[in-house]
């Protein structure tokens, strides 16, 4: 599909030189991506560990392992770290940084120094969060007023940390948009772009449009606490619902910042392991934008029981269901790509197939919750918790794990143990479902979220869920060890172990500095599997 991509021996790998300073001051997108990957993975493991503690507390109806206040702190930390430190900035920034220039045939992003700046701003945000742990907040990750104004715990530091992260997010998104617009290799036209790039582009737009709004919202919250003003305080003429409106105006699009990169990952993995061109290229590419646009007009479905008008609730219920259309378009196209494909079930593909299965459950339960009449009884129950985790873990995290296994040989130049990877996938898949599927039933039976204790009749389902979390934890542990062991002792990876046609596989593993010996000229799209040449979907 491309000529001129150098396969001959050329520059040194991007891991050279190895000095610490060369990493701290690097402007190489691959190194910055790797630093993001390590940081977000660390936070993922920490926040996952916190979730295990919460599940352990829920093994018995009484609040006996931790105090209710500690439990509140734990779910606040779990949510805040997972959302703001792992899933929002991480998946897009780590994989996006590594892949975007390689996939479009560029030497780096448009603003390499700004890119490094984004990473360091991100790190400053995480340090602020760690400082906030001295008096950890107990508000939940949504920081709802008026409680977040009144609680004695430290809301200011943690929200300020999130505010700083927002800067990082905005600058990364800006960098990616300009990169995709201006640095594509000759011949890399918009209708030849890999779908991961389309999804990264849609994600970046969301980051630019939504993040400033949460920034100002958190600033208002900080001002409310420090200056004693009354924007969100009814006693002073303010409106607590305004905070929820502002917050979800960001945080619902943010859900798609989290999951759209995973759509891109799945669109890359499935054709390679089906040996078939992607089905419905344009439909998949444009549906990301449809999702991005609609996502700005659904935020009130988080507030159906907050005291909004019935008219508004009905309108937002309808708009919410619209999101299902472009999302379903993607799922159907992935399945159509599989149809009559020559499917090989290697670990990245196992994650991709699990994604389709689990994300569909997550997505469809989202339609239940978007339905006004159904949402009212299910609101703030475990049904929401289960739905949310089916989308975030079953969707984003499975996509992320799939990407880790898929691009691992390229990134690290080594291979992991495939048999262990499959075992880990099996444990993660089973553990995840055992943990979260019972929570749908818990929710329907009326178990509210965010409580450390519960009536005894819920105990069996809670026990199953907790046992599941142990299987899930074991699976993630084995996967982590396997991936780290591969870096240390794995055998050397070939340039293109999965026979992908995408540009990043046409350079050595790991790629050299500046990626391409000579900028390639692209003559065809990325998905011409099983045929000599194919230009249009």
């Amino acid at each position: 599909m491309s000529n001129g991509a150098a396969t001959e021996t050329m520059n040194v790998s991007f891991y050279e030189p190895k000095s610490i300073l060369s990493w701290v001051l690097t402007t190489d997108h691959k190194r910055i991506g790797l630093m993001y990957l390590i940081t977000i993975s660390t936070f993922f493991l920490i926040a996952g560990g916190i979730a295990m503690l919460m599940r352990y507390e829920l093994l018995t109806p009484e609040s006996d392992f931790v105090s209710p206040h500690t439990y509140n702190v734990l779910f606040t930390l779990h949510g805040s770290i997972m959302v703001f430190f792992f899933i929002v900035p991480g998946v897009a920034a780590s994989l996006g940084n590594f892949l975007i220039p390689l996939m479009i045939g560029a030497r780096d992003v448009a603003f390499p120094k700004l890119n490094l700046g984004s990473y360091w701003i991100y790190l400053v945000g995480t340090i602020i969060l760690l400082a906030a742990l001295l008096q950890p907040a107990d508000t939940g990750w949504t920081f709802y007023t008026p409680y977040s104004v009144k609680t004695g715990t430290d809301v200011i530091l943690i929200t300020f940390g999130v505010f700083v992260l927002g800067f990082s997010s905005i600058l990364t998104g800006l960098n990616f948009i300009v990169t995709i617009h201006k640095l594509r290799a000759p011949g890399m036209t918009w209708d030849r772009l890999p779908l991961f790039i389309w999804s990264a582009y849609a994600t970046s737009i969301l980051q630019l449009l939504a993040t400033p709004v949460v920034g100002i919202t958190l600033l208002l919250l900080i001002a409310e606490r420090t200056l004693d003003i009354g924007f969100f305080d009814p006693a002073k003429g303010g409106d607590p619902i305004l905070f929820q409106n502002f917050f979800w105006f960001y945080s619902h699009p943010a859900v798609y910042i989290m999951v759209i990169p995973a759509f891109g990952i799945i669109s890359e993995i499935i054709p390679v392991f089906s040996r078939k061109p992607i089905f419905g290229y344009k439909a998949i590419a444009y549906s990301s934008f449809a999702i991005a646009i609609i996502s700005f007009f659904v935020w009130m479905h988080h507030m159906f029981v907050s005291g909004i008008s019935q008219t508004a609730a009905a309108i937002f219920s309808f708009l919410t269901m619209l999101v299902a259309i472009p999302t379903a378009i993607k799922v159907f196209n992935w399945v159509a790509t599989l149809y009559k494909g020559s499917i090989s079930l290697e670990s990245p593909m196992l994650y991709a197939l699990s994604f389709i299965f689990l994300f569909t459950i997550g997505g469809l339960t989202g339609v239940y919750l978007g339905t006004l009449a159904v949402d009212v009884p299910l609101h703030d129950t475990y049904f929401v918790v289960a739905h949310m985790h089916y989308v975030m873990i079953g969707g984003t995290v499975f996509g992320f794990f799939g990407a880790l296994h898929f691009w691992y040989p390229k990134w690290f130049g080594k291979m992991f143990n495939e048999a262990v990877a499959k075992l880990a996938w099996f444990l993660i898949f089973v553990g995840f479902n055992v943990t979260f599927f019972p929570q749908f039933f818990l929710g329907v039976e009326g178990m509210p979220r965010r409580y450390a204790s519960y009536p005894p009749q819920f105990q069996t389902l809670h026990e199953i869920s907790t046992y599941g979390s142990w299987i899930l934890g074991l699976g993630i542990f084995i996967m982590t060890v396997n991936l780290i062991a591969g870096v240390i002792g794995g055998k050397k990876a070939p340039q293109n172990p999965y026979n992908s046609l995408s540009l990043e596989w046409q350079v050595p593993s790991p790629p050299p500095h500046e990626n391409f010996h000579e900028i390639p000229t692209v003559t065809d799209w990325t998905y011409g599997y099983g045929k000599k040449s194919k230009t249009e979907a």
């Binding site: 800006l174 009354g230 305004l242 500095h513």
Partner: protein
Amino acid sequence: MDSTVASHAEEHHELDPVVEYESSKLGMWLFLGTEILLFGGLFAAYAIYRARYPEMFAEQHRELDVWFGTINTFILLFSSFTMAMAVWSIQKGKQTRTVIFMLITIICGLAFGINKYFEYAEDFHKHLYPQTSIFYALYYLMTGLHMIHVFVGLTILSVITYLTHKGKFNENYNTPIEVGGLYWHLVDVIWIYLFPLLYLIA
């Protein structure tokens, strides 16, 4: 030895100047968009509370001294003009003239800050604080956030002026001046909206 490899690689393959110029401009326009959205949250809060409490807004804004705001509006408008002149001058390759226009712009920015300082002092003297009412909370947050942008703009302009003075820019390469100028114009534009919203309520 290793570092020579890296620096060797980094020195090669500079971006094409045209691509770099277009990238920088696109990047700055996108950033300005996010700035407007940041203020957008405050404008939305303003709209909601003004619709809810029209009498309070109409009454309380009279306490503000409209002269401070008017003078500052003219100062900023003038500074936008001198900024545009600076960009025009460097495009003609006139470095000294560019530095002079940049310095005038910076002085205007400082004058804006000083004027605002006296205005805040008078407000405090009249016991107008952020917690006085939602109107004043909005007033202080909007003008305060704008003030932060003025300071950021002044820092950017100072660095660019110094670099111009050092001869870094000419008619062929002046992207930082143009992009920095865009930012300064945004600072001006936001004030153009703040002024009537806060001082000139009918």
